[in-house]
């Protein structure tokens, strides 16, 4: 099989995507860290880093669109470019979630972060994103499947936070604003895991050509989560 410059270019676009994912993940970790330490300076840096993420996302999308128009890829190449465009979008949204988290900083602190185990939850969700990007690079369907399965773990953690908050709210004199912030952060981390799952599903499309996004399985999962 002979490689051509166009395939080297697809690899360059893939590398740009991996770089973007690294930036997004480190910004997300930094956001949780900033909230824990109430570090306003770090929060500013995270805001600025998100601007860079947005620029990188737009640039990568432009490059992919130009590639589609100029090279008209087909088969595996087409699926890879489409997958890059979609993952790019998911990463940018994860970037936004980091900013949403630091916006909740005034109501939170290290004590709250520990009580609701946000670091652990963030760790699991972050690992899911890392794994899903790894699956993209290696075209590894099994790894993508693993990411999809991990989503349940984060959902369970989110539901636990929800129940804990509901319990506290029933007591008199609870700090409603703080509790709402807790729910929001939990939701943001859970959404990051959802984005990781979407990325994994996109990788499955890239590898197999099959769109499995709306399978019956997903519906069953939803029903199950409602029962829980």
């Amino acid at each position: 099989m002979s490689e051509r410059p166009v395939h080297e270019y697809i690899r360059e676009l893939s590398r740009a995507l991996v770089q973007l994912s690294e930036k997004v993940l480190s910004n997300f970790d930094a956001a949780l860290e900033a909230v824990r330490h109430q570090d306003v300076e770090a929060a500013r840096k995270i805001r600025r880093a998100d601007d860079e993420i947005n620029l990188a996302e737009v640039r990568l999308e432009e490059q992919c669109l130009a590639f589609l128009a100029l090279q008209q890829p087909v088969a595996r190449d087409l699926r890879t470019i489409v997958t890059i465009i979609k993952i790019n979008d998911d990463l940018e949204r994860i970037g936004d979630l980091a900013v949403h988290i630091i916006e909740r900083m005034p109501e939170l602190g290290s004590e709250i972060m520990d009580r609701y185990e946000f670091d652990r939850m963030g760790q699991v969700a972050g690992d899911m994103v890392r794994k899903s990007i790894d699956a993209f690079v290696k075209r590894d369907r099994h790894l993508a499947d693993e990411v999809c399965k991990s989503d349940e773990q984060v959902d369970t953690m989110h539901r636990l936070v929800f129940r804990q908050v509901a319990e506290v709210m029933k007591k008199d004199g609870s700090n409603t604003e703080q509790l709402l912030a807790v729910l929001s952060v939990s939701r943001y981390i859970e959404r990051m895991a959802d984005h990781a799952t979407r990325i994994a599903l996109e990788v499955i499309y890239q590898v197999t050509g099959e769109i499995v996004r709306h399978s019956d399985d997903a519906f069953e999962k939803l029903i199950q989560s409602l029962r829980d």
């Binding site: 099989m1 002979s2 051509r4 395939h7 890829p73 087909v74 088969a75 595996r76 197999t208 050509g209």
Partner: protein
Amino acid sequence: MSASPDTKQTSAVTVRDIYLPPERKKVSGGGVPHVSAKNFSIYYGDFEAVKKVSADILSKYVTAIIGPSGCGKSTFLRSINRMNDLIPNCHTTGSLMFDSQDVYGKFTDEVLLRKKIGMVFQKPNPFPKSIFDNIAYGPRLHGIRDKKTLAGIVEKSLRKAALWDEVCDRLDKNALGMSGGQQQRLCFARTLAVEPEILLLDEPTSALDPKATAKIEDLIQELRGSYTIMIVTHNMQQASRISDSTMFFYEGVLVEHASTAQLFTNPKDQMTEDYITGRFS
């Protein structure tokens, strides 16, 4: 009060139309095997140029044939109306059916066969005659002499080939004075004049500029649904733009035959994948 044309148009659009690109709409009365090959091989002397091909070409749809030079795609195309008969030492084995007629059967009249299965070639090849006589040539050959009938056929054929508006006031002018794109559409009109059922197109746009190519591609879309069309092309984008199904040939073997959407997004065979993504060594 009569409905305005706009209202009529809106009511005619179904949900299905919205989800299917217009050029890929289902063809009514089409989709049955029009040409069927079974273990069909073509030899030049001892050399097996097309190897045991089995495939059904569906009626009224566009089938593209792709593959590297020398893979047998043109040979296969030309075998369908027995153009290969003109090549010495060319013979076939297996079966090739056109509807219920055996193309290579003892009693097959190849002149009648070629009336039903017309062909347009890579280079436009109008006769050095007037535009009118080019189109009327086939019908005359088949015995039509009445001037009014011939004029009717000429107009109808030129209209079908989207050429009438450009040449209706100079039908008596020599066809060689037309542009390359016009000459190629004239060849389409000449083929259509004898009312064929199948059109075989052997790289019909490879000698044309992008504008003329676009016109021919639009024309193929127009004719789709009325004729079974098979097109050999080296232009992969062209195959993906205009065809419903695609056959990929390699070294005489039909490697993959699938819907064009399937073949160009998720081919089943690694060789097809390598060829269409340009990874072929």
